[in-house]
């Protein structure tokens, strides 16, 4: 069964960001027929995240959240818009992931805001961030302004985004990138510890 992790960065309770996240999770579960959904609320991780930025390592619940996110079959990420972009809390979480942690992971991007004037935040802020992280971003993202929650159109956008995202999750991307005739695969830290590159090879590469 696919495991979908939902990261939401809403600050208030109840939160419209969490509300949108729940709708996207439900629509995705429906599209996949079945899925295990795990929620990661960043509000509770604000202090551990600040500590991680200063000390360079996660602990406790943050370590568990990072483990959940980096081992997910697909991610739904939802941020409120702050000053024309994702919130600092949202960005901080993705800042502390190891390089390569989201390589090839399907991601559904979504955002909430007070006004529909911020809707391009999806394509100007969230999409480039996840492209940089080498995630596979679903073509449709969902932006919901406060007044969208009272209109019919939001539902259709949620269905469409969840359908595209579910298709990506159901057909996992190859985590390697083919260049010329060599398959270059970035190895995770865990893989390197389990099966280290032999020293003779490191020595050859060092002087090549």
């Amino acid at each position: 069964m696919n495991r979908i992790v939902v990261v939401s960065a809403g600050l208030s309770v109840p939160s419209s960001t969490r509300l949108l996240a729940d709708r996207l999770a439900a629509a995705t579960t429906e599209a996949l027929a079945e899925a295990e959904v795990v929620h990661v609320e960043l509000r509770a991780l604000a202090h551990p995240l600040a500590d991680h930025l200063l000390t360079g390592f996660p602990h406790g619940e943050l370590a568990a959240a990072i483990e959940a996110v980096t081992s997910a079959d697909g991610l739904i990420v939802v941020s409120p818009v702050f000053s024309a972009s994702y919130s600092g809390l949202f960005k901080s979480f993705f800042d502390v992931l190891e390089p390569g942690a989201l390589d090839g992971t399907p991601v559904l991007i979504a955002a909430t805001g007070g006004t529909s004037r911020h809707s391009l935040v999806l394509d100007h802020a969230l999409r480039p961030l996840f492209s940089y992280l080498h995630a596979v971003v679903a073509p449709t993202g969902v932006y919901a302004a406060t007044d969208d929650f009272g209109t019919a159109g939001l539902d259709g956008r949620i269905q469409r985004a969840a359908g595209e995202f579910a298709a990506l999750v159901g057909k996992p991307a190859d985590r390697g990138v083919a260049t010329d005739d060599v398959m270059q695969v970035r190895r995770s830290t865990a893989e390197e510890f389990a099966d280290p590159t032999p020293f003779e090879e490191l020595l050859r590469n060092a002087s090549r």
Binding site: L54, T55, H59, T189, F199, A206, S207
Partner: protein, 375 residues
């Protein structure tokens, strides 16, 4: 000598947050010497200094510092923690530390590391993106320079050498023992294992899980490369402590230093950080118990160094700490020896390495003479 105990310093010039006074470079340099001499006086085995080339550190020119301390001490082993194998010419390392070996009658070893900051690379004409490559290529040359009298060598990161002899040759024909230090790079554990050198984990500021993971990899690969069984690999660990007879006094006194310290200050609370990392602030007995626990995840190991002079602690307090550490180490020696598994090697020293090599062999290299005149 089963295990070695000592101290390591990063040579930071940090404002004392309780008096808001910052020592001068001169004061800090002289304090480092006083600390090293005190370490010998209280019965420690090792003094190690870091190498940094930027403020707020006074840890540049490590061989100058170590030679000066060496001249004023008799027994203590002088080490680095760490030598920048990435940005320092291996030819200079070979010369400087072989010279130090002669001057101090073999009381020298080195710990290799990659450096603390990106800009240090361009200061020495290098590129941080080559960090691992430099650590690997430079060390392979250094290893050769200490073992072969005449070296022909070609690599990517420095000019080739043709018929080069590094002088002086190592004391008694035995190069200084080398440790490789890294917090999280598996390549460095692999490197230490390949050469059968020691592996040191700084074991401060980060969770012990990093240490366990690196030491496990090093031991496994040490065995793979045929240097002995995993439990025979040579492991060193760091640690950071602050002690008073009464543990609450230790916490109250250290807290302002912790709260504003470089690296972890302004972050987690002292209590959280003690739980998350090997930092121990408390009574000598608490330090003894915590330290004895390190072997549970690192195995029986050979060297334990403590960071004692960090975060702006004044010299007087550091010297008091060393008095306490002397008492703690006396207990640790006995307790570690009592639980040590059979077959675990002793910490390497120049004397044991010379003995293992079959005795001292003068390795002086003389310039070639004319075959006809003898001149």
């Amino acid at each position: 000598m089963g295990m070695q105990f000592g101290i390591f310093t990063v040579g930071d010039v940090t404002t004392d947050p309780t008096t808001v006074r910052t020592p001068t470079e001169h004061e800090r340099i002289k304090a480092t010497v006083a600390i090293a001499k005190k370490a010998e006086e209280v019965g420690l085995d090792v003094f190690a200094t870091g190498e940094h080339h930027n403020p707020p550190f006074i840890a540049s020119a490590p061989t100058t510092t170590l030679a000066y301390i060496g001249a004023q001490t008799e027994k203590i082993i002088l080490s680095t923690a760490t030598t920048l194998i990435t940005t320092t010419d291996p030819v200079l390392i070979a010369e400087n530390y072989a010279k130090l070996q002669h001057l101090t009658d073999g009381r020298v070893d080195l710990m290799m590391g990659r450096g603390n900051t990106g800009p240090v690379y361009p200061w020495f004409g290098k590129d941080i993106r080559d960090g691992i490559e430099l650590a690997i290529e430079n060390y392979s040359l250094l290893h050769k320079l200490w073992r072969e009298d005449v070296v022909n060598w070609q690599g990517k990161h420095r000019t080739p050498l043709q018929g080069f002899t590094s002088t002086p040759r190592p004391l008694d024909g035995v190069p200084p023992f080398v440790w490789h230090g890294s917090i999280r790079s598996p390549e460095i554990a692999e490197q230490a294992a390949y050469y059968g050198d020691g592996f040191f984990h700084n074991h401060i500021f980060w969770p012990a899980s990093h240490t366990a993971q690196m030491v496990e990899l090093y031991r496994r690969r040490f065995e793979h490369y045929g240097h002995g069984q995993a439990h025979e690999a040579i492991v060193g660990l760091g640690g950071q402590v602050f002690m008073r007879r009464n543990s609450q006094d230790a916490i109250n006194e250290f807290r302002p230093y912790f709260d504003k310290a470089p690296v972890y200050g302004h972050g987690p609370s002292l209590e959280d950080f003690m739980e998350q990392t090997p930092l121990t602030v408390g009574s000598p007995q608490q330090v003894i118990e915590r330290t004895l626990g390190f072997r549970e995840y690192a195995g029986d190991y050979q060297r334990q160094l403590f960071l004692m002079d960090h975060a702006g602690l004044p010299l007087k307090v550091v010297l008091e700490q060393l008095d306490l550490l002397g008492e703690v180490v006396e207990v640790l020696r006995k307790e570690f020896a009592a639980v040590r598994k059979p077959g675990v090697p002793d910490a390497p020293t120049h004397a044991t390495r010379v003995a293992a090599a079959g005795g001292p062999a003068d390795s002086s290299v003389y310039a070639a003479a004319d075959d006809v005149t003898g001149h």
